[in-house]
Every structure is written in structure tokens, then in C-alpha cells.
Amino acid sequence: MSQFDLMRTPPETAAMITPLLDVRGLSIALPPGADRPLAVDNLTFTLNPDEILCVVGESGSGKSMTAHAMMGLLPAPHVRVAGGSLLFKGKDVLAMPEAEQRSLRGGRIAMVFQEPMTALNPLMRVGRQIGESLREHTALPAPARRARVVELLDQVGLPNPAELAEAYPFRLSGGQRQRVMIAMALACQPDILIADEPTTALDVTTQKQILDLIRSIQAERHMGMMFITHDFGVVAEIAHRVAVMRHGKLVEYGAASDVLNRPQHAYTRQLIASVPHYIEHRDDHAKAGAPLLVADKVRKVFHVGGGLFKKSKEVVAGDDLSLTIHPGETVGLVGESGSGKSTLGRSIVGLIKPDSGRILFEGTDLLALDRKGFRPYRRAVQMVFQDPYASLNPRHRVGDIVAQGPVAFGEDRTRALTRARELLALVGLDGSAADRFPHEFSGGQRQRIGIARALAMEPKLLVADEPVSALDVSVQGQVLELLDDIRRRLNLAMLFITHDLRVAAQVCDTIAVMRRGRIVEMGTAREVFTHPRDAYTRSLLDAIPGKSWHIPDDLQKVKTGSGLAGAH
């Protein structure tokens, strides 16, 4: 708590020092035919030494474009700087000759990218990749460079740095790769570090470690840091100052404590209001009657690789998985990537055949049924998929997509289409949506279509596999509300699979925490969040970014007031 409060004040008074980076009226033009003429519109902000500036915005807000403009990474000639200046220590970067700009980038200004899996060259040893920028920007001889690389790897907290320098990227985990990326960025002791969503692709516990690392390195070296993110939890964790962007414009800019606790602009308020918060869990679910679904010691092993003469490798995706879902109950399956949570979800809807165990639906073992016997249960168990862009057939009209399931079960086509329109209305889409194609809809709208498709089958159990993780936070809130609303109205049971504990807290009655193919803890949301028994659950809860920040009270009211009011 105390550390959190300390961070709210920038270390020095801004007026006294020249800013490291001074962005004045920056505009970036998009090619004609794009959805708006300017990706970034008249953007002005400063970055001081020894300060973390968080640039926050949803997808398409222009936050990454700004960083790319600084690093000369704009896809010229289609996208170009249309006006304004970028002053680095008082000198305009954009007016510098190409060679000078290059020595600045990677030398004085360094960048860490979002995707650690693709940002490293897979054919180059880690040490050499870090050494590259040293060779480019310093006069160090080769042995000194090697020593420096090892030193850097040590500083970013990697074990056995000397050995690791000789490794190829594929041998490292996502978190380790991101550390390597940071070491690479730090190689020339830059004055400014730009980090573009550096933790978005990482699991929550890894994210916490990387955030801690970034914060300590920044403080140690007194760097100016521009941290781009969409997550207000992360902002609360590390920011000194915050810039909120929307549609290429800066809508709010100020000290972190002001923006987080006293947001002024309506958009910032809306964004903060839609941040899922882990405190707000629901009342315990009254488990009535016989369980709807019982998973009993489900085990699934995947065989990876192998061929005619090679033995395949066994990967245990799920082992001894048991859980029960009662009618009307929402069970959250929470875990990090690779924990096997999707495997269990997919086994229940019949997309994966487990190797052993039982899945009882209203007393019938689904795994013992053959294709024909399983068919009636297809209707009863439906799925909402993760990626709204991949889960709708781009060549079919939305009405058809929703109606296809019932038609496959012998319903009259015109009746099914009429019903599809009703369902689209139920999920909050216009009736005319039925005649359009998926590409005409936004991500959130597509996810609504996916929900309508599942509902068309009149299921008793809905398996939602990360239904909101591909959506922006404000849209995320709406879709979660819709799911919750429908669940209550139709008395649906739901298995909600997510990696995000904050989201799980919002919608789930019961939580099962998975790790490495096993359920390590299961209990009511209240128990799991307030008295976690398992050490892993505790570390997960501990890793949630922005725990010590409380969403301003007036904004919490905004949230419960919209649509959910009738429920409580």
C-alpha cells in the first residue's frame, strides 16, 4: 500500500528539468480509404527523466502508432507523420538526418515489443542478438561485448546467464524471452525505453514478474519510460503519469493518482468503470437439485510429433479432472495458458475425446455414447468461442449462421430464420443484422452473434471458452453483462473458461483453479477469492495487477447502474 502511494507523485517537479521527450502536435496520416484520416491527431505530451508514462487506450486508439513514429517504424509510405515534432532532449528527431536518427534508435531510445515469441530471431543465439546493438552503437571489443551481454542477462533476472547467452530463443519460455527483449533494449543504456504492451501476451504471474523487473530497472537507471497498455490494472501498478488516448486524440493527461482516482473525461471514466475488479464477487449459488453435469476423473493425453519411425511425445493436457455444475450455476475454470482448461471445456462439448474418465450429463455418460447417441446432447451443451473473428464463417450471412444448428436438427428453415432474428434481438443486435455478413460487425457484435448461435440450440449448459479475452475492456464489460443477463433469464448453467481472475470474479459462482492439467482448488467464488487454500491460487491472486488500487466509488455505481440494476 505504502509503495503504491509513493508512486503517485512524480519523483521531481516537472517544471525544473527539460523533458527527455517532448511531443508537440504530432499527427500521423493514414492512407486514403482508412477508417479515419489521422491515426494520431495533434498529440502533445512530455516524458521526463526517471518517470513512467503510461499511454492507455483501446485497440485502434493510435497508441502504438505514436511509439512506432518515434522508432521510425511507421509503414512508409502509406502511413507517415503529417505534422508536429518529436523533440528528444530539445532536438527534433524527425528533422534529423537518417544516420543520426538511427544512432538514436536502439542507442538512446530503445523499444520492447508485445510479442516475445516473434520479436526474437529464431535462428540467432540469444547472446548474439543482444550483442548486435552493442556492436552497432558502441566501440566495445568482442570479449567485452560478451561480458556485457552476460551482465545484462543477469540484470534482467535470468538464471545461468552465461549458458543462456548460447541458447536459441525456442528454448526459452515467453517470460524469459520478454526478459531477453528487455536486456536487448537496455544494452546501450538508453535514456528512453518504450514498451509496447510488453506483458499482454504473458500469463498473469509472469506479467507480475516482468512488471516488477521493468519498474526496478527504470528506478535504478532513472530512465524515462513510455509504457503502452490497455489495462488499467497495469497502469495502477507502475504509472507515474497517464495519457489516455481515443481515436488518435489525447483525451486525458495527468498524474497517475489524478487520472486513476479522479478521472475527468467521460471516456476515461467509462474505461475505468468497465475494469473488472476482483473484489466484487457474487453471492453463493444455491445448489438445488441433481447436478446437471459431472466430470469425473477426466484424463486427456495429446501425442505430439512422431512419425513412422519416431515415437511421439506425450503431453498430459488434463489429469484427474473432476467438477460438477448445477442447473443455473456458473462455474469458472481459471488457469494460465497450457493449464488444460480448454481441454476440459472441449471434452464436454464433444470436440475432444478424453482418454479416460466420465462426463455425466443429467446422469448419462457422454463419453460412452457413440456418434448417434451423442447427437441429442449436442443441443443441450453449446459453446461460445474465444476468437470472434474466427468463429463465424465469413461466407455465410449472420441469420444463416444462427439458424444452421436448428436446421441441422430438422427444424424448418423459415422458422429457424425467424427465431434467429429474435435471438439476435435478444443479444442486442438489430433485426437487419441477419442479412449481413460477419465482416460488417465489430468484435463485440460478433461475439454477440456467437452467443445467439449457441442459444439457438436451446442449451442447458453453455461452455464459454475465453469469450471476452479478445475484446477491448469496454466491450468486454458489455458482453459479460449480456452473458450474465441471459444466464439468469434462461436459467442456463455455464462453464466459464478464462485466464483472467478479475473476469471470473465478476461472473462466476464457483471457481476451479487449474494448473498443469490438474484442478488445484475448487470452491465458491467467495472462498477462493477471500480464503484461497492453495499456494498457486494465492500467487495467482497476488499477481493481479492493480490490486491496491480501488476503482473510485462513483464509477462503481455507474457500472452496477447500467442494466444489471434489476438483478440485485
Binding site: Q382, Q386, A390, S391, N393, Q404, A408, R453
Partner: protein, 280 residues
């Protein structure tokens, strides 16, 4: 809406437009061959060994006094007919096998792919020659032979498309909503995998025309159908005395194949817009 986009992308490729114009001209020539050149192209029309631009024979005549221009027009029919039908047959075999292999995976995939590889290990042309020679040359056997040697690449292509589309979420959604395998293959996956298949099919028409010409050149063409390959084959012994007998049918082949390749490339640009853009 999608159509106008398609045309705009297609028209942007100037070569493709040129190819399409040539192709349309050849199709018109083939369709109206008997209007432009009434009478049998095998019949003697004028004196033998007439050079081009002589009376009665715009492009000259061959050793037996047959009109070269008439032969080319009627030969266009045979070439296009064989090119299209054999490609259609190859598509039917290749896409069906590829779809089944890609959709079912596992043992079905293994079996079908080993079978495909068996065909791929035998040189195309040799197999076609053997097949036509065994079954006596006729339009049907030539079409069949060409189809049999050209389906494997289509099978591999559609298998790859099906494999990647199969794991897409909209296909899994179709499975969970209880749609049958047939519906999923035909309605969900096939329409989404058509673009690359159409592109390679258009290129395959060109290959089929070349194959047919080569067969006819070797004297394995349909003896009743005038064909460009046959004309070149027959004229090769007198190429020094009468260049026009082989050059004009040769040009016809070159133009047709070139046109088909240009159109194929245009289709590729129009149907796979992302690839086209990344190429600059």
C-alpha cells in the same frame, strides 16, 4: 459488393486484363470456328505449301493443301475443350480426395496421401503417354489421361486448406451445433478454400493444353480432331521449307498458355488480396 471488389482488384493487374482479352478472343475463335472457316479442316482447301498471305490461305497451307488458319481455329476447340474438361475431372478427383484427407486426418489422411504420392512419383508425361497408348487415342482417353496425371497437386492443395480450416473455430462451432460432416465439408469449409483452388485450376488448364499438344505432337492425339500439337508434329519434317506450318500453331499454343497464366495470376491477386499487397 464482393464482386465489384473482385473486379477492381483483378483490373488493377494490367497483365491479367491483357490475358483475359486474348483468352476471350481465343474462345470466340473456337466457338465460331465453323462460321469463320466453314468446312472440314482436314479437307484440302488450296494448293500445298502455300506461304502465308497467299490467296485462299491467310496463314498458308500445309503439305496436303489444308488451310493452317482453319486448323488453328478448329484446333482451338480441341485445346480448350480438353483443357477445361480434363481440369474439371482433375478437380473432381483432387478436391474430393484432398478434402477427405484434410477433414478426417489420421489414418484416412495417411492412406490418401500415400496414394497421392504414388502418382506423384511417376513422371506425368510418361504416364499420360502410356495411358493414351494403352486405351487408344480419343478425346475421352486423352481427357482421362491428363486428369489422372494432374490431380495430385490439387489434392495436396485442398488437403492443406482443409487441414488449416478444419481447426478454425467456425468449423468447430458447426460441429457443436450438430451439422453433418457432409454439410461441414461442402458448406463451411469448401467455400472458404476455393480461392487458391480456383487459381491453381486456371493454371492447370494451361498445363493440360500443353500436355494435349505434346501428346498430339507424338501422334497420340485424337485422329478425328484437328489439334495444334498435331499440326506442329506433322510439320516438323518440313520446318526448313515451310516455317509457317509449325510457327502459327506454336504461337497459338504460346498465346493461349500465356493468357491463361496471366489470368491465373490476376485471379490470385484478386482472390488473395493480402498476398498481392505484401508483394508490393
Amino acid at each position: 459488393m464482393m464482386n465489384s471488389d473482385f473486379w477492381r482488384a483483378f483490373v488493377r493487374n494490367k497483365g491479367a486484363v491483357l490475358g483475359l482479352v486474348i483468352l476471350i478472343a481465343i474462345v470466340v475463335l473456337a466457338v465460331f470456328a465453323s462460321v469463320f472457316f466453314p468446312g472440314d479442316p482436314w479437307e484440302m482447301a488450296t494448293a500445298p505449301f502455300q506461304p502465308p498471305l497467299s490467296e485462299d490461305a491467310l496463314l498458308g497451307s500445309d503439305m496436303l493443301g489444308r488451310d493452317i488458319a482453319s486448323g488453328i481455329a478448329h484446333g482451338a476447340r480441341v485445346s480448350l475443350l480438353i483443357g477445361l474438361t480434363s481440369t474439371a475431372a482433375a478437380l473432381a478427383i483432387g478436391v474430393t480426395l484432398g478434402a477427405l484427407a484434410g477433414f478426417h486426418g489420421g489414418k484416412v489422411d495417411d492412406a490418401i496421401m500415400r496414394f497421392t504420392e504414388l502418382f506423384q512419383t511417376i513422371p506425368n508425361f510418361v504416364l499420360a503417354v502410356v495411358l493414351v497408348a494403352i486405351f487408344t487415342p480419343s478425346l475421352t482417353t486423352i481427357v482421362a489421361a491428363i486428369a489422372i496425371v494432374s490431380w495430385p497437386p490439387l489434392a495436396r492443395l485442398s488437403r492443406a486448406e482443409f487441414l488449416s480450416l478444419r481447426s478454425r473455430e467456425f468449423v468447430q462451432a458447426a460441429i457443436t451445433t450438430g451439422q453433418s460432416n457432409g454439410t461441414i465439408i461442402l458448406r463451411q469449409i469448401l467455400p472458404n478454400s476455393l480461392s487458391p483452388i480456383i487459381v491453381s485450376a486456371s493454371l492447370m488448364v494451361a498445363t493440360a493444353i500443353l500436355l494435349e499438344s505434346s501428346l498430339s505432337f507424338l501422334g497420340l492425339g485424337d485422329p478425328n480432331a484437328m489439334s495444334w500439337g498435331y499440326m506442329i508434329g506433322a510439320a516438323r519434317t518440313v520446318i526448313r521449307q515451310a516455317w509457317w506450318m509449325s510457327v502459327f500453331p506454336g504461337l497459338a499454343i504460346v498465346l493461349t498458355v500465356l493468357a491463361l497464366n496471366l489470368v491465373g495470376e490476376g485471379l490470385n491477386d484478386a482472390l488473395n488480396p493480402k498476398l498481392a499487397r505484401s508483394r508490393g
